[in-house]
C-alpha cells in the first residue's frame, strides 16, 4: 500500500486537523514507514478467526432508569472557552 500526500490531507480533513503542505509531506514519510510495519499483519491468515473487541468476554451491564444527576452547569461551564446565557458559544452553525 502506498499513501499519497492527498491521502494524508484527506484523513487530516476527516480528523478536523489543519495541516499545511510541508506538514503533510513530513507526515506522509512517517506514516508510510508506520504502515509498512502495519502491513506485516497481512502475512498471517486470519480467515477463520473471530475479531476480538474486548479483553474480557463480558456482557453489557444495565443501569436502572433513574435520574441521578443534578444540575451543575455553572461548575461545568467554568472552564468553557465561551459561554453566554448558559449556552456554549461557537462560530455560527450553518445548516
Amino acid at each position: 500500500m502506498t499513501l499519497s500526500v492527498n491521502d494524508v490531507k484527506r484523513i487530516a480533513d476527516l480528523a478536523y486537523i489543519e495541516i499545511n503542505d510541508v506538514e503533510a509531506k513530513e507526515t506522509l514519510d512517517q506514516l508510510s514507514g508506520i504502515f509498512d510495519l502495519i502491513e506485516t499483519m497481512q502475512a498471517v491468515d486470519t480467515s477463520t478467526v473471530e475479531p476480538m473487541s474486548h479483553a474480557q468476554s463480558v456482557l453489557q451491564r444495565l443501569r436502572e432508569d433513574e435520574v441521578t444527576e443534578a444540575d451543575q452547569h455553572e461548575l461545568y461551564q467554568s472552564s468553557a472557552p465561551q459561554v453566554e446565557a448558559d449556552l456554549y458559544l461557537v462560530p455560527q452553525v450553518i445548516e
Partner: protein
C-alpha cells in the same frame, strides 16, 4: 410515461425514559439550557457510558409489537463526525447488529390494506441543539437533549405514495404511543421522520436514485415534501436528466425541498464497535417478561371490535388510533354491551368533536366513560331523545349538576313522553283541532302527515317519543 414513487421512512422516536440512554441526567423537555447535561452528556475527559435498562426494554417492546426478531447480542458502534451539538465527536448508535431486526406494520391507505416491512430498529443517542439567535454572529449550544434515547425505525422501501407514507407514519406513531415507549409529541421533536424518495418507470424493478428528505416534523409536511420531491424527480427524468443522490431539506414556507448535502461531501463515519460498551445480551426470559406485560396491540383490538361488537372496519380503526381512545371506548361499552355502535358514534362524534374544538386529548375528557354510558343508556331506554341527549351532553361537559345525567334531564325537563295513553291524548287533541290536515292526508297528501307530527311535537313541547308519535298517528289516521 407512468412513474412509480418508491418511499422508505426512517423514524426517530424519542424513548420515554426518565434518564438518558448513557447517563443519569433527566430527559424532561423544556428545561433551561444545559441544566440537564451532566459530565457524561458533556463528554468531559474520562467519562464513560452505561446503558439504560429502560431504553432497552422499550426497544424490546417495540420489536415484539411489530413481530420482529430481538437480536442478542446486539452491538453499539460509534458513528464519528464533528458537530458542535455532538459533544463526543461521535454518536453512539448501532450499526452492524441492531437490537431489533425485521417486523412489519399493517396500514390502510385509500381503503386498501397493505403490509409495510421494517428493516430494523436500533438504539442510539440524540444530539443537542444549536440555537441561532444572534449571539454576535455566533451560535449557542444547548446540550440538554444530548444523550436522550432514540429508537431509529427503518422501513423497507415499501410505500408507493405519500398517502401510504403518511398512513404508515401515523400507524407507527399510534403504535409507539400505544405501547408507551414514546410520547409522540411531534412539536417537541419526540417523533421525527426522514423520507427516502425515488421514482421509477411503472413496471420496472430497478430502484431509482434516491434522495433523503430530512426532519419532517408533521404528517402534513411529510405528505407535501414527498409529493414535491416526487414531482421534482419526475420532471428531471422526463427532461432527460439524472437524479443526484443527496440529502435534502424540506422548506415548509416555500413547500419545496432543497439540497442539504450531496453524496460527495457525505461524511465517512468510520463506524466501529464502541470499546466502552460491551455486547448487549437480552435473555429469552427478559423478552418473555416484556411480552407478557405488553398491552393488546391496536391491530388485535381492531379485529376484536369488528368481530365482538360488529363495528365497521372504519369505526374499529378510528377507535384504535390511540390506546387511550380505545380504552375509553371499551370502558364505555362494558357498561352498555348491547349498544356498541351507539357508543362508537358518540365517541367518534360528540366526544372527539368537542375535544378537537378545545385542543384536548381523550385523557383530558371531562366526561368519564361511566358518565357517557349513563347518558347513552337514557337514549337507549327511550328516556330522552338523541337531540335532548346533546343538550344533556353539553351540560355535562360544562360540569353542571355534578354531571349527573338524570338530574340534568329532570332539571331541564328533557324527559321524553313515552306513555302510550298520554301520547294518544295529545294525538287526539291535535286531530280534533286540525280537521283540514286530516282530510288532506286522507286525500293522499303525505305532506300533511309531517305537518301533523310537527303539531303534536309542538303540543308535547318536543318531549314526545317521535317513534311512538309516528306509530300512534298512523294508526289513528288509518282507523
Amino acid at each position: 410515461m407512468q412513474w412509480e414513487i418508491v418511499i422508505g421512512l426512517e423514524v426517530h422516536a424519542q424513548l420515554s425514559t426518565q434518564s438518558k440512554i448513557f447517563s443519569g441526567a433527566s430527559t424532561a423537555y423544556g428545561a433551561p439550557p444545559n441544566t440537564q447535561a451532566c459530565v457524561i452528556d458533556l463528554a468531559l475527559p474520562g467519562v464513560l457510558p452505561v446503558l439504560n435498562k429502560g431504553a432497552v426494554e422499550r426497544a424490546i417492546k417495540f420489536g415484539l409489537s411489530v413481530g420482529a426478531k430481538i437480536n442478542s447480542p446486539s452491538v453499539f458502534a460509534r458513528k464519528n463526525y464533528f458537530y458542535p451539538d455532538l459533544p463526543k465527536g461521535y454518536q453512539i448508535s448501532q450499526y452492524e447488529l441492531p437490537v431489533v431486526q425485521g417486523g412489519s406494520i399493517h396500514i390502510q391507505a385509500d381503503g386498501v390494506d397493505k403490509i409495510i416491512y421494517l428493516t430494523r430498529a436500533h438504539l442510539e443517542e440524540d444530539a443537542g441543539k444549536s440555537l441561532h439567535e444572534d449571539f454576535h454572529g455566533m451560535s449557542g449550544i444547548d446540550l440538554n437533549r444530548a444523550g436522550t434515547p432514540l429508537l431509529e425505525i427503518v422501513s423497507e422501501p415499501d410505500m408507493r405514495s405519500s398517502k401510504e407514507a403518511v398512513a404508515y407514519a401515523k400507524m407507527l406513531h399510534g403504535l409507539v404511543r400505544w405501547i408507551g415507549i414514546c410520547d409522540g409529541n411531534m412539536q417537541e421533536g419526540s417523533f421525527r421522520c426522514d423520507a427516502n424518495v425515488s421514482v421509477r418507470p411503472h413496471g420496472t424493478e430497478k430502484l431509482g436514485t434516491r434522495c433523503e428528505i430530512k426532519n419532517l416534523n408533521s404528517f402534513r409536511f411529510l405528505e407535501k415534501a414527498i409529493d414535491y420531491e416526487a414531482r421534482r424527480q419526475i420532471e428531471i427524468l422526463e427532461d432527460g436528466g439524472t437524479i443526484r443522490q443527496e440529502t435534502r431539506l424540506y422548506d415548509a414556507s416555500k413547500d419545496e425541498t432543497r439540497t442539504m448535502r450531496t453524496k460527495e461531501d457525505a461524511n465517512d463515519y468510520r463506524y466501529f464497535p464502541d470499546p466502552d460498551l460491551l455486547p448487549l445480551e437480552i435473555s429469552a426470559n427478559w423478552i418473555e417478561q416484556v411480552r407478557s406485560a405488553l398491552p393488546e396491540l391496536p391491530q388485535a383490538r381492531r379485529d376484536r371490535y369488528i368481530s365482538e361488537f360488529g363495528l365497521s372496519g372504519y369505526d374499529a380503526s378510528v377507535l384504535t388510533s390511540s390506546r387511550e381512545t380505545a380504552d375509553y371506548f371499551e370502558a364505555t361499552v362494558r357498561q352498555l354491551p348491547a349498544q356498541a355502535k351507539l357508543c362508537a358514534n358518540w365517541i367518534m362524534g360528540e366526544i372527539s368533536g368537542q375535544l378537537n374544538k378545545e385542543g384536548q386529548e381523550i385523557t383530558d375528557c371531562p366526561i368519564t366513560p361511566s358518565q357517557l354510558a349513563m347518558l347513552l343508556e337514557r337514549i337507549a331506554d327511550g328516556t330522552i331523545s338523541g337531540k335532548a341527549a346533546k343538550t344533556v351532553f353539553e351540560s355535562m361537559w360544562s360540569g353542571e349538576l355534578e354531571k349527573n345525567v338524570d338530574a340534568i334531564i329532570a332539571a331541564k325537563g328533557l324527559k321524553q313522553i313515552s306513555d302510550e295513553s298520554a301520547i294518544e291524548k295529545l294525538v287526539d287533541q291535535v286531530l280534533a283541532a286540525n280537521e283540514q290536515q286530516v282530510a288532506d292526508y286522507r286525500n293522499g297528501k303525505e305532506k300533511a302527515f309531517n305537518s301533523l307530527v310537527g303539531l303534536i311535537m309542538k303540543a308535547a313541547q318536543g318531549k314526545a317519543n317521535p317513534a311512538q308519535v309516528n306509530t300512534i298517528l298512523r294508526n289513528k289516521l288509518a282507523g
